[in-house]
Assembly symmetry: C2
């Protein structure tokens, strides 16, 4: 059993706790929040025994083996650094850090402390994402992919009213690319490897952050096109194209349909199995396995993907003048 | 009544004749083919009275007011030039010409001869395309569009077997961009005007031509992303995004569904009417009207769109080293 604490008390943390408990491998023992009231309320909700209002206190808690961090993006680095310094394993919500430099610092620290640092790319652990990945061989030579994650966020209403929600805030290292875009970008890296080049046509919102737009990842002989947005909704599926046919998934997360469309016969074959009831359960189970079995090979593979995605988003931001406050000093 | 002759005896010419006759405005009087046998068979099939095996003979036919040209792309220029020189109106299948320079020559000749030169962008004349165009105001500020025309062509089987069908031949000015890509590109120009810049990530096939890939058209503040292919199939719809919602069409041609998806209420509204039974009928009716009413304003608007699309595809070809044989001298 892995005892864990959480930093960040939003809905995604609720989901992770529920999913982690469902695996039988994790036990929530502590809740961190700067505000005691928030920590106590969240701990009570999830039957956690301890609360912490400083990172030092959480770091000193001997019964905490790992910490799940799902705070605003810009806070990930300092919080993860404190936890790794204290020898805790860290499960870090995406995007892991604001910059590649921050990620590299955390990575070096984790190695030094022999702690595991894992970015919570939950979609890459989904059973049906693995079905998609394992079905690429059906396509023959690859001709491209169109990956989509575009859904209007109710928080965009706030932006239109003149507010700056964290997720649309450069102060909190927000914006669509690092919030939603990382799902299809990570999917592309997991499916096809690191692209040779990338470009982005962002739509900017009033806060100065990117609200969505098209990303192109260029590979040898084909490209991956990504439509990602928090300011408009797309009904398009995600597709991978090859000489022998097309793989059509309902998306790059929460996949419940992966259809192979034969180019010549036009026959359709459903390849997906039933998806997990809790959409963070697969990652919670896998991350526990990696930590408990000390599977450094798989850990390294995930780290390389995380870093590759950060390199891509950082480059795309630089190309388009999207600068986070943490980068200004 | 406009008497017309046809150059090119493929299925698209069958369709145009049937559609033209259905409008009541056109009457087929002649068929051209270099081979008398082909001309005679096609004329018999469509009850045409005359056949021609030379462009000079067709040009000299006093009862022919207009000529519909649907030959391999590389032949359009010389054939249209001969017909315009003889004072005939010309309906030219897309792509009008191999190059912008050719188009400009034909355009100058048409003006000199007071003849109409109209590219058969049939989809822009569809009732439901106009519904899509006229519904853009529902979206508020525009955030982008994703336009798709990707369908596996059975002729690609021939390419894989080592043959070079016209449509995949650089000798015949073929390739996906100028064959299928022009539909979504022309749609974008009709909906949003001329883009500031464009890029293309082609997938090349064995013949050296482009088989498909992603096109990006950059506008002020948003982009249009195009997925076009003859070597793979996409099930994705075509969509236009704005602050207030998304317009979702089943495609950019043969549109029978245009749904407005409200971003906030998620309510869907079907805006499309019934589509025409014959998919070239709307263009046949409109082109007859333009010629008969001497509607030079609309003619000029269509010419400008045709030229803009050619400028875009020529630039995209140059960026990617796609050179037609006619450009090599």
């Amino acid at each position: 059993m892995l005892n864990f604490a959480v930093i960040g008390t939003g809905w995604i943390t609720d989901s992770f706790i529920e999913s982690a408990h469902a695996t039988g491998a994790w036990k929530l023992v502590g809740v961190y929040s700067r505000a005691q009231e928030t920590a106590s309320a969240f701990a009570a909700k999830h039957n956690a025994t301890a609360t912490y209002t400083t990172l030092d206190a959480l770091g000193a808690a001997a019964d905490v083996h790992a910490v799940y961090i799902a705070s605003p993006n810009s806070l990930h680095f300092e919080q993860a650094k404190a936890m790794l310094s204290a020898g805790k394993h860290v499960i870090l919500e995406k995007p892991a850090t604001s910059t590649v430099a921050e990620y590299d610092q955390l990575h070096a620290l984790a190695r030094q402390k022999k702690a595991f640092l894992i970015e919570a790319n939950r979609h890459l652990q989904e059973r049906n994402f693995k079905v998609l990945r394992d079905s690429l061989g059906r396509l023959g030579p690859l001709y491209g992919a169109s990956l989509n994650y575009a859904a209007y966020s109710s928080r965009y209403n706030k932006v239109l009213e003149g507010e700056t929600p964290n997720i649309f805030s450069l102060e909190f290292s927000g914006g669509c690319l690092v919030d939603l875009g990382v799902y299809p970008i990570a999917a592309a890296v997991a499916l096809f490897g690191v692209p040779k080049a990338q470009s982005y046509s962002p739509v900017f919102v009033k806060t100065g952050a990117d609200g969505g737009g098209f990303v192109r990842l260029q590979y040898d002989g084909f490209a991956v096109d990504i439509n990602q947005s928090k300011i408009y909704t797309s009904a398009a599926p995600s597709e991978v194209y090859g000489e022998k046919g097309t793989l059509i998934a309902n998306g790059v997360t929460d996949i419940d349909s992966v259809v192979f469309l034969d180019a010549r016969t036009k026959e359709k074959t459903q390849l997906a199995g039933e998806k997990a009831k809790l959409n963070l359960q697969e990652e919670a189970a896998e991350f526990a396995r990696i930590i408990q079995e000390k599977d450094t090979k798989e850990k390294t593979r995930l780290e390389e993907m995380s870093r590759a995605v950060l390199c891509i988003t950082e480059d795309l931001r630089k190309q388009n003048g999207i600068v986070f406050d943490v980068e200004k000093n």
